[in-house]
Symmetry: C2
Subunit: 310 residues, 2 copies
Amino acid sequence: MSITVVGSVAFDSIETPVGRRERCLGGAATYFALAASYFTAVRVIAVVGEDFSAAEEAVFTARGIDLRGLERAAGKSFFWAGNYLENLNEAKTEQTDLNVFSSFNPQIPEAYLDSDFLFLANIDPVLQKRVREAMPQARLVCGDTMNYWINDHRAALVEVLPAMDVLLINDTETRLLSGKQNSVQAARDVLALGPRALVVKHGEYGATAFFEAGAFGENVDARRAFRAPALPLAEVVDPTGAGDSFAGGFFGYIASQPELTRAVFRRAMFYGSVMGSFAVERFGTERLQELSREEIDARFERLRELTHLD
Amino acid sequence: MSITVVGSVAFDSIETPVGRRERCLGGAATYFALAASYFTAVRVIAVVGEDFSAAEEAVFTARGIDLRGLERAAGKSFFWAGNYLENLNEAKTEQTDLNVFSSFNPQIPEAYLDSDFLFLANIDPVLQKRVREAMPQARLVCGDTMNYWINDHRAALVEVLPAMDVLLINDTETRLLSGKQNSVQAARDVLALGPRALVVKHGEYGATAFFEAGAFGENVDARRAFRAPALPLAEVVDPTGAGDSFAGGFFGYIASQPELTRAVFRRAMFYGSVMGSFAVERFGTERLQELSREEIDARFERLRELTHLD
């Protein structure tokens, strides 16, 4: 079953305590697509500029990712520069050039219209809603957002949240969206805005899933939360894309399964954590480009061993 | 098998967003002893003043806790006042009166000398070491410490750490002791100081155990970390004593088992988390005074359900 993802494909210049990389391939849709590609077919809707070369294209095609929805526009690709010198958990943005992304108007190829799964990466909620409405056949929709949309585009964001089956955001975003400090109360508030499930990412402490009553029928336990760990890592080379890689592993695994059961949701959280842990081991998308399913499943088992009693 | 605990028995005045309590029974040894008493016999070594009345004594004796090592001195008991109005995760101290605790010189009753288990709660590391040396028969020693000892009494602390089989501290203390920010590197540094295992508490995110190579023989996997969750709570009434209650559940469960295996260590982490979650549901020790083993085991199962794939 294929996933269509809409979001950014970009170039990033990144500095971390380990070193610096100039203009490496990045963007939320890129990390998501690479991570998900180990589980299922992935189709990308994004826009790039004339600086997007055959080398970048090959990163996607080597993983079998469908780029028919990748628009090439006159100008430069989205560019972001930032560092993690003071805090590995939060990027300090040095520069953001939207470039061709500033007038992004997602075009959905005819061939994508049979995707059962849709991921709305972190873009303008107005565009998220438009893409969802243009793909009515998608039977499971996951999405992301960020502080900027929560603070400055709240009305538009609130309009798209009921269209999301699963919203994946971090602790800070959950509290910002809710206004509450207590994580359980904040999760309840966010669920009241419309998503059927909320996956809150805690960085090195993993992620917690909360469900609204009756979400996903009887198969997924609506009352109980589920917590997946993050793998304790002795070195984080570059945190960029960890959240999008989590989303790719999470949603990719769900799309690979015949139905969404409680067990599938839980395993998907573990696969999300696995892909996030790989992403941060090297700069940019380096590590995500060269994984094997065996490595992925071995790390899945490490997470089980990390958390299970027996 | 009995545990002897040495630490503070105190009065606390506490303010949280939920309300305020004046002079309730507190202290690390109190929380530890109450939590551990649901699993095993507990013996206390501490000092109190003339303000420690029959009512406070009854809180211990109702749980069968041995107070023969509780010294009564002229003057007032240790008193602490603090609030959690700005941050539920960190107390803001308003007042600390050491009172009789300032000249505490632990006396070990003859009857305690056969305790197999010893818990060194957060007190002067010089006293921790003295008590450990006076109880050579104790075959498993756990301990706690805090920022004050790490910063200002480091030499004495480093002397007692090799005497601890398990050190239980929080994230901030681990980083302070190590000087490293990365949690895995920091854990390795702390283990290099002598304890055979390190349990790092993450507040609402649970706790992680790290082991030195060969710790506890073949039974406990030396290479692999283990992470126990904290129960997501919609309301935290009073965080005071959560860490000591965790330690009480953790060590109490270990003391109740015939030997320390990998499975026992893991279950002990869960019981620690269970007792911490109960402690914060009410002010002071209120909740810890009235539990049943059935409630405890029901919550243990909730933690399993929160974290296990199947």
